[in-house]
């Protein structure tokens, strides 16, 4: 058996989907993966549904990727060293060309003594509106794409937030950390959508059902993988939220 060309390197990973396209960038210890054009990822789907217009195939893949990330909560991104605003409890995450925020996985705040503490998630309806401003100890996800800190900050504390994202419906690229593991299942989701189309030369309910099962399997695996904190092997049932810092 070949041992490959792997070795133990210090620092964060830079895994490769393939050498030419993964191309992530690393900043302050975080890896921001590269992206791949949907028009390239959807080629296998296009060759299966050969009579379908290419833009429709691309949209089917985009739709499947969005559905996959929405259902699995697999894809995460980090907002790092973001300063809070005094007396401002609610924040949005600005915007991204191809990703949308659908949840928060974890958050942490830097105290004035420079140590970091994890914030605990809570139901925002339970917050006391008369609470005096202070160092936040809780956070809540406010649909869609917002976060509320509690107590309301009384200082420009630095925060790290790990957000859960989905790919947007008009995206032209897909993050490589999604497709490197789940491309086959996203393809199945796209095929399901296309085979389900009515009165097309490629319409095929049986194939649609088969691909739907495969897609659901992928969603379940991704969800399970996420729930285990992206770790293989035994983990605690309710692990402490992981936040790279």
């Amino acid at each position: 058996m070949s041992s490959g060309t792997f070795s133990l390197m210090p620092g964060p990973a830079n895994p490769a989907l393939d050498a030419a396209t993964y191309g992530g960038t690393q900043t302050a210890g975080f890896l921001t993966p590269g992206t791949t054009l949907i028009s390239q990822l959807a080629l296998d789907v296009a060759s299966t549904i050969k009579d379908c217009p290419i833009p429709i195939v691309n949209l089917a893949y985009t739709r499947a990727a969005r559905e996959f990330t929405r259902r699995s909560f697999f894809l995460k991104r980090n907002v790092t060293n973001a300063a809070l605003t005094i007396n401002q409890p609610v924040y949005n995450f600005s915007g991204d060309a191809s990703l949308e925020v659908i949840g928060i996985n974890a958050a942490a705040v830097q105290q004035q003594n420079a140590t970091w503490v994890d914030l605990r998630p809570a139901d925002a309806t339970m917050y006391d509106p008369n609470m005096i401003t202070d160092l936040p100890t809780w956070y809540s996800y406010i649909p869609e794409g917002m976060i509320q800190f509690y107590p309301t900050p009384n200082y420009a504390f630095l925060t790290n937030v790990e957000i859960v994202v989905q790919t947007s419906i008009n995206a032209t690229t897909i993050p490589n950390d999604l497709v490197s593991r789940w491309n086959t299942y996203i393809e199945a989701g796209a095929l399901q959508f296309l085979f389900e189309m009515n009165s097309q030369p490629w319409s095929d309910p049986v194939a649609a059902a088969r691909n739907a099962e495969l897609f659901q399997e992928g969603v379940g695996m991704a969800r399970s993988w996420r729930d285990r904190g992206y770790q293989k092997g035994s983990v605690r049932a309710t692990p402490r939220p992981f936040l790279a810092r």
Binding site: A46, K50, D51, C52, P53, I54, P55, I56, L59, M197
Partner: protein, 198 residues
Amino acid sequence: MLLWLNDVLAAAVSLKRDISPVVATCPLVSGSVQNLPAATGQYGSYVQCMEPLYNTASLNAVNKAGMTLIQRRIPNWRTITQTTDVTDVMFDDRSPTVFHVYPPNNGSGSLQMLVGGVPFMSGAGVATLNTSTTVIPIPDNYRQAIVHGLISKALASQTRRQDTQKAQFHWQIFEGMILASKIAIPEATPRLSEKEQA
């Protein structure tokens, strides 16, 4: 005789538009609606889009597609960003010389496309009729049919040997042989399920 031959070839194309396929370079204008270019060489005109092949400069493949899905899913598709390369070409037999490209072209693109042409053996000026060695751009299996067409034309002309009955007889054979033969380029067969194929 050459004029008759032109008429017979044009009639053959009229009966079967893909009888004389040719790969033509089709420069694209800015926008989504395109027309087949003027014919060159031995062709009087191009009369039928048959199969898009590839973008001339990039060599990237082009897909032949239907318009309905794109119209419904991307209703503003004719106003999206124009590009040099196109991915999809759409046309139908009701407007065989007009085709639509997706994405709309920026005016600098060009396609290689298989089109149906009308062979033309003598130029408009008929300056040189040195066509005895000219190859007729129609497959050999149509030769006999074209001979019948020429005989029909000869018998129909107003000469002492005019015989309209025989002319009609040969013309029917000409039409029958053209129509009975297989199409020159088979259309792409839609993917069928096993049930449909059965």
